[in-house]
């Protein structure tokens, strides 16, 4: 045996260790009379880690044993993070699919006791988030351009700090802010779709700024210098070189910000109100949206409780689908327009 080769565990070793641990743990738990899936998984993970480490250390030596142990730990952490996500998706799909129907997607709830659909909420969600994007994307993008291309020193650092703080404000505060602004102008009790958009913008702008700033920062400086050396003024350098180079990343940032606010409930509850009929004009009257719809269907189910609950789950499922589509679109755009930069 030379220094370069040594004894190695067979390829199936990690799986074998996991399977053996699972079997052993299951037997022990049944014997102790306290069997449960959660306990089985947790104990198996610990057991498999210990067993693999000991086995590997005995055969392969301490370095490989450590490697195997850490690999298993990381895998367990990943699985742990996935469990709530998958169970949530599964649960929403299971309970939401029965409520999804053509009627649910195409009709509103006006005067339909125990029936009707969520078309008004779907329209409201799209209009409110659409207007929110129209407000936030230009402001957020220009803010990011200021921070990366123009801002310097203390002012820039202070702004970055407050943008970070803004990403953490509770969403209900954004809603109350929008309500207060409009109530000052139009009097108390006002409810408008655009108020919801303003509230969502307060949440969205900092996300857009942060995401765009990161993307603009990684545009290599030598590209800016190349443009300057051609006699390009600064604004043209930004508009024609920096932004197109970062285009794919900027779109992704916007999409992620949209996905983040599309499911907001609290700020819309106080700004756009609850309503049963379709309203696509953000500047007049109340406007329903999917998150508030799901909330109110669950909160005040009326006479036909189960039908209401089904619609609430279906609305939740629809929201998740919208978020997924937004993310998919972001990925497609990213792949299509990504530019290689060194």
């Amino acid at each position: 045996m030379t220094a370069l080769d040594g004894r190695v565990l067979p390829d199936w070793a990690p799986y074998g260790a996991c399977a053996a641990s699972a079997g052993l743990v299951a037997l022990l738990l049944i014997a102790a009379g306290s069997f449960s899936i959660a306990l089985l998984l947790a104990c198996t993970a610990v057991m498999a880690c210990l067993a693999t480490y000991a086995w590997s250390r005995a055969v392969e030596g301490p370095r490989r044993a450590k490697d195997r142990l850490v690999t298993l730990l990381i895998l367990s952490a990943f699985a742990l993070a996935l469990i709530p996500l998958l169970s949530l998706l599964f649960e929403v799909a299971k309970r939401g699919i029965p409520g999804l129907s053509l009627e649910f997607l195409t009709s509103d709830a006006r005067g339909k006791i125990g029936g009707g659909g969520a078309a008004h909420a779907l329209v409201g969600t799209l209009v409110i988030t659409g207007v929110a994007a129209l407000i936030s994307v230009p402001i957020g993008l220009m803010g990011a351009i200021y921070l990366t291309e123009y801002g310097e020193g203390r002012l820039r650092r202070a702004l970055t700090f407050f943008v970070d703080v803004m990403t953490g404000i509770p969403s209900i505060v954004a809603g109350l802010f929008a309500y207060a602004v409009f109530a000052l102008i139009f009097g108390p009790g006002i409810r408008l779709g655009v108020m919801g958009s303003v509230a969502l913008s307060v949440l969205m702008i900092p996300i857009v700024i942060r995401a765009s700033e990161e993307v603009l920062k990684i545009v290599p400086n030598h590209l800016r210098e190349a443009a300057y050396a051609l006699g390009a003024p600064k604004w043209k350098t930004i508009a024609r070189v920096v932004l197109p180079t970062a285009f794919a990343g900027l779109i992704t940032g916007v999409m992620i910000a949209l996905a983040r606010v599309v499911g907001e409930t609290a700020p819309l509850l106080v700004t756009t109100g609850v309503v049963d009929s379709i309203n696509s004009n953000p500047f007049e009257g109340r406007m329903q949206n999917l998150a508030v719809y799901a909330y109110s269907e669950y909160r005040t189910p009326g006479v036909f409780k189960q039908a209401s609950y089904d619609r609430a789950w279906a609305a939740a499922l629809l929201l998740i689908v919208i978020v997924m589509v937004l993310n998919l679109v972001a990925r497609l755009i990213y792949r299509r327009y990504r530019t290689e930069t060194r």
């Binding site: 290599p220 590209l223 210098e225 050396a229 006699g231 043209k236 024609r240 070189v241 180079t245 530019t339």
Partner: protein, 298 residues
């Protein structure tokens, strides 16, 4: 006079003609005139140039002339301020945060750093090619060459633009290799091709002076030779200053050589000697130059 540089291009040209009668009058159709070989290019004169990054002085007291229609090579060991000095010639130096300049730099007698001189206008007259080929990744080959026009001037007619792109690519010896794929991304070319694309991009805006910062250091010997040939050709139209670490390159491609050196680390770089390339490489007047070109240090 500085206002002439600061003003829009056509006015700058007319006032140049007023100022220097011997210059043959440049016609208004810049696309055709600049293409002719043997046009008088511009001289850059510097006096007592000191360059700083914050408190650190990188270059001290450089007084030299970059002569028209000649290739001036700046040689010297790493960190002696050649690149910094080169970047000060088209006011790229000040783009670095905290960078400062003292002294005088004049382009055909006009103060480049004068009050009211727009650095953007200076850079239109003094183009630059960088160490790493840096074509714009979001643009096609065609758009890369046309970028200078689009970025520095207003609208250019499609026909004129096509002509300028073809002429610039031919000028950079790249036309034959890329004429069938002008719409493909510039980043897909090889390193040497990318650098020639960057040269095409720089000459498309027809600068008076071309600065090159180690344009071949990222290239293989074949691509390097292609660029050196190109430089020899370009000097008929432009004033060229080139920073290089490659002693053979300086001796092959340049007419005038300036040797920069720094006495010790942390001290500013200085111009030790400038003269005809042949003299610098065979019988330099300074011992430091002789040591450097003969490879005894640096």
């Amino acid at each position: 006079m500085p206002a002439a540089i600061g003003a829009a291009k056509p006015e700058a040209e007319s006032s140049e003609t007023e100022m220097k009668p011997p210059l043959p009058s440049t016609s208004t159709a810049r696309t055709s005139t600049r293409a002719s070989a043997g046009r008088p290019a511009k001289t850059i004169e510097t006096r007592d140039v000191n360059l700083f990054y914050g408190d650190f002085q990188a270059v001290e007291g450089v007084t030299m002339t970059v002569e028209p229609n000649k290739v001036t090579a700046l040689i010297g060991s790493s960190g002696c301020g050649k690149t910094t000095f080169l970047r000060s010639l088209n006011r790229m130096h000040e783009l670095t945060a905290g960078a400062r300049m003292e002294g005088e730099i004049a382009l055909d007698g006009q103060d480049v750093y004068g009050r009211g001189v727009d650095p953007v206008q200076v850079r239109r007259l003094v183009g630059m090619v960088f160490q790493q080929p840096n074509p714009f990744p979001a643009m096609s080959i065609y758009d890369n060459v046309a970028a200078g026009l689009n970025l520095s001037q207003g609208k250019v007619k499609k026909v004129d633009r096509d002509a300028i792109v073809e002429r610039s690519l031919r000028g950079a010896h790249l036309w034959e290799e890329v004429k069938d794929r002008l719409d493909k991304p510039g980043a897909g070319l090889s390193g040497g091709q990318q650098q020639r694309l960057c040269i095409a991009r720089a000459i498309a805006v027809e600068p008076e002076v071309l600065l090159m910062d180690e344009p071949c250091s990222a290239l293989d010997p074949v691509a390097t030779l292609a660029i050196e040939d190109l430089i020899g050709e370009l000097k008929t139209k432009y004033t060229i200053a080139i920073v290089t670490h490659n002693m053979q390159q300086a001796s092959r491609a340049s007419d005038v050589t300036a040797f920069f050196n720094l006495e010790a680390t942390g001290r500013p770089g200085r111009l030790v000697e400038i003269g005809p390339t042949e003299k610098i490489f065979t019988s330099p007047s300074q011992q430091a130059t002789e040591d450097y070109v003969s490879g005894r240090f640096g």
